[in-house]
Amino acid sequence: MEREGCALVTGASRGIGAASAAALADAGWPVAVNYRSDEDGAKEIAERIDSNGGSAVAVQGDVSDPSAADPLFEEVEERFGTVLVLVNNAGTTGDGLTVQFDDEDWQRLLDTNLSGAFRMTRRALRPMMKARFGRVINMASIVGQKANPGQAGYAASKAGLVGFTKTVASEVARRGVTVNAIAPGLIATELTEDVPDTLLKMVPAQRPGTPEDVAACVRFLASEGASYVTGTILTVDGGMTA
């Protein structure tokens, strides 16, 4: 990595975000480790990256807040320069049958998982276009493409992210900016702690994925070698939806 700039990973204090931040640091990017509330977690991730020879900083910002993007980017730009890799990973879950699902939960899911990614991407694109290089990587989910009863809100937000990814990709492709999504399946994180064994039986690989399995894909999509890959959804699910 010889470019002047950095990577910003939202929701990076743990799980897939933390693993993605570490993978991008390993690829040579200075990394901004964004968190909403888990300051200790984010600082620990940043310190771990630093002690492994990388360069990282923990930055607070709640992506579901419409006014969060500007101050967050300014802080990161001041420290590490232009954000050339944006990983929209911050996400939340909320399960419940549609007939019992309330407006508040629905809105919370869309605000964080979809609107947050939109606003962060909107803020990131101009400097990326100017640099004639950029990588936006949105964390979707296989649930955005395949039904999972009880997750209509989550599915809608992730399917929305898929549509968003494809359209933005087509808008900015000729500026050297790629926009892709990753659709993880069953990944062992805090969000999926309660997943029953019956679900695991549906995974041909017969194991849950790890955050590192997903981070490896983030690293690839952020690389120079992935410059012709845009508007795509990379499924990482051990064959679950195959």
């Binding site: 101009r126 276009m129 100017k130 808008e171 900015v172 000729r174 500026r175």
Partner: protein, 83 residues
């Protein structure tokens, strides 16, 4: 910068330079030239808008874009808003 009066020529020069960066020959970028003839599309205008904002403190919004047909239209808009 926005408080000073900006001369139309200065605005034109900056905008023409910014447009030429995107592709067209600098000498083809005249006030009467249409953006279409120069192959400047809405995404290109976003980039030109970035230069304009940095130089003159004037923001070109999405709703402006459809009204801008020629290079001169862009210059006029910036001069009007900057003064």
């Amino acid at each position: 910068m926005a408080e000073e009066t900006v001369s139309e020529d200065a605005v034109f020069e900056k905008i023409a330079d910014a447009i030429a960066e995107i592709g067209p020959e600098r000498e083809d970028v005249k006030k009467e030239a249409t953006l279409e003839s120069l192959d400047v599309d809405s995404l290109d205008l976003v980039e030109v808008g970035q230069v304009i904002e940095e130089e003159f403190g004037v923001e070109i919004k999405g709703e402006d874009v459809e009204k801008l047909k020629t290079v001169g239209d862009v210059v006029d808009l910036v001069v009007k808003r900057a003064s």
